[in-house]
């Protein structure tokens, strides 16, 4: 036989050198759990996963594909947990036999790429953002923006508005906020993981939006604050319900999160945009983890719960490093009680 069956020995060779390669410690004792969903939580989740793997060998393979995808995959059973920034209602949770709990709080920040405009220099309001994304405000030197920003050199260029092309919990929180502050927006595109965007460019994930804003001149986008920090992007200040222009930071997110009434939220179904308070950041949001209530693979389910227990109990350091807000102790207790009651 002269067929090129060198393939088989080559495969064996690769497999052999593969298992001894890499710089990870050879600990095949660790399980591998899979998750998918929110890109909002991805920066801190991947940091937790890296620490957790060093600590106990379990690998958390997370695909950052957007909240919509995370919900779909965990409902279909193709991943062990899903992550979404839009909480599911109790009836949908019951229909799919899922448990839901929050794991972190962060903030959604408008980012811009305008020559000469540094981080924190531009001031915007919810209604202005709504008008820009609806195409009513077309240029950066529109009177409405100029009035709010005397002294900022705004070009007469058209605004390239970047939105999410995928099913996004970040979009849900952003559009929920716009619906709260702009009646025109509420009557028009409304809120949701995706809406009927008019014009603009679609980025895939928080990463895609941040990537496009970095690339395209005179662009505007909305991303989770960790992406702003990690990529040194130029963000804008947003006016909150109390009329103050608040800078995004762990403190202003925490001020918003502090007003949330978790005790009375069934299955933790709670959205915290447009929070009251002078220091509250207007577009704060949490990420929720979805796990099956009666998992088929008990070992995997236990591994998932163990990972998130680690995250909410010990992951505060990584969270604050990226300007997320770790959950307060009483909420952590409430979550752990909920899990032991609901996940068998």
């Amino acid at each position: 036989m002269n067929r090129p069956f060198f393939a088989l020995p080559a495969l064996a060779l690769l497999a052999a050198c593969g298992s001894s390669g890499g710089n990870e410690a050879a600990n095949s004792s660790g399980a591998q759990i899979t998750g998918a969903g929110s890109t909002f939580v991805y920066p801190v989740l991947s940091a937790w996963a890296a620490d957790y793997r060093n600590q106990n060998g379990t690998a958390v393979n997370y695909q950052s594909i957007g909240s919509g995808g995370g919900i779909a995959q965990v409902e279909a059973g193709t991943v062990d947990f899903g992550a979404t920034d839009q909480p599911l209602k109790s009836d949908e949770l019951a229909k799919n036999n899922l448990a839901q709990f929050p794991v972190i709080v962060g903030g959604i920040v408008p980012v811009v790429n305008i020559a000469g405009v540094d981080a924190g220099k531009l001031k915007l309001t919810g209604p202005i953002l709504a008008d820009i994304y609806q195409g009513k405000i077309k240029n950066w030197n529109d009177p409405a923006i100029v009035r709010l920003n005397p002294g900022v050199n705004l070009p007469s260029a058209a605004i390239a508005a970047v939105h999410r092309s995928d099913g996004s919990g970040t979009t849900f929180n952003f559009t929920h906020y716009l619906s709260q502050v702009s009646p025109a927006w509420k009557a028009g595109p409304g809120e949701g993981k995706t809406v009927n965007w008019t014009g603009g460019v679609g980025g895939k994930g928080n990463e895609g939006v941040a990537g496009y804003v970095k690339q395209l001149p005179n662009s505007l986008g909305y991303v989770e604050y960790a992406y702003v920090v990690q990529n040194k992007m130029s963000y804008a200040l947003v006016q909150n319900a109390a009329g103050q222009f608040v800078a995004p930071s762990a403190d202003s997110f925490a001020a918003a999160a502090g007003t949330a009434d978790w005790k009375n939220a069934q299955d933790f179904n709670l959205v915290m945009t447009n929070a009251p308070g002078a220091n509250a950041y207007p577009i704060a949001a949490s990420t929720f983890i979805l796990v099956p209530k009666q998992p088929k693979d008990k070992a995997k389910s236990n591994a998932v719960i163990a990972f998130f227990k680690y995250a909410i109990e010990k992951g505060q350091g990584q969270a604050t490093k990226l300007d997320y807000v770790p959950l307060p102790a009483d909420l952590v207790k409430q979550i752990e009680d909920y899990i032991s009651q609901n996940v068998k």
């Binding site: 088989l8 710089n23 193709t78």
Partner: protein, 279 residues
């Protein structure tokens, strides 16, 4: 007799246009290759081949992606080559003037240029949906389907190039047909079939779309074909769409490795073809 001015002008214009068109094509080629090599070479470090894909914000390498791609390509070759050679043999030998062969040849050429994303969707429906999870195996299957028409075409053409006198000589010696094919024809067509496989490898090495819904991706080291498997094209896709500079650097490095691999294969194929012609 001098020709009319307008005719000469038309001719000069055509000459200039043809030269410009060729320069146009070559300029793009140079620009793309130059940027890939410049950006990629700057990012080439040994850690590229020893470390795994990193989380955003840290440095790392692409070893798991290279490994995953290599394994899936090899598996695709193992699956696709026998089927492709067998089908190509039918088209050239037993079925040479049958209607089945004409139909298969026609359909094969369509599969050759078919959108690879459709093939990814097909394997998703067939394998991933049924199994309930993504897998490197599904990725290898989709690559095998893309490789198959290339191998069929090359086998068919190279077998048809062998003069019938060789077949007749074999029959005259009393050999059964399958022996003629195996011992005479395959041996003679070996280098041509091999070049077909190499060209096929060059093609599937760069295919991204079918892997997006079959093998997905894996940021950790994994040799498990029954789970999502890291691979170079999807890693490049993910990293390019991100805002992180370290990921962009890794993407360029990965692009450099991929392009160099594909170009080297193409050069290798030409060398083999030239040696085959001389021999």
């Amino acid at each position: 007799m001098a020709i009319r001015a307008s005719r000469r002008i038309a001719d000069v214009v055509a000459f200039v246009f043809a030269t410009a068109a060729t320069t146009f094509g070559l300029v793009w080629l140079t620009w793309i290759l130059w940027m890939t090599f410049r950006q990629g070479a700057a990012a080439l470090t040994p850690s590229l081949f020893t470390q795994m894909t990193p989380p955003p914000g840290s440095s790392g390498g692409i070893f798991n992606a290279l490994y995953g791609s290599a394994v899936m390509i090899l598996l695709a070759v193992v699956i696709g080559t026998p089927v492709g050679v067998a089908a190509g043999t039918y088209l050239a030998e037993h079925g040479r003037h049958t209607r089945l062969a004409a139909a298969v040849s026609f359909i094969n050429d369509i599969l050759l240029s078919a959108p690879s994303i459709v093939i990814g969707l097909f394997i998703y429906e067939l394998v991933v949906r049924r199994a309930g999870h993504f897998s490197g195996f599904a990725g290898a299957l989709s690559l095998a389907i893309i490789l198959l028409p290339i191998v069929v075409r090359t086998t068919q053409e190279s077998l048809l190039l062998i003069p019938d006198t060789m077949r007749e000589a074999g029959f005259a010696l009393g050999l059964p047909r399958w022996r003629v094919t195996r011992q005479i024809l395959y041996k003679a067509a070996m280098s041509a079939i091999l070049t077909g496989i190499l060209l096929g490898i060059a093609r599937i090495a760069g295919e991204t779309a079918p892997l997006l819904f079959t093998a997905l991706n894996n940021q950790f080291w994994s040799a498990n074909l029954n789970a999502p498997l890291a691979n170079l094209p999807v890693v490049i896709f993910q990293y390019v769409m991100s805002p992180y500079d370290e990921w962009h650097t890794l993407a360029w490095a990965g692009a450099f490795v991929l392009t160099a691999f594909v170009l080297l294969l193409n050069i290798l194929v030409r060398l083999i073809a030239r040696k085959g012609k001389q021999g």
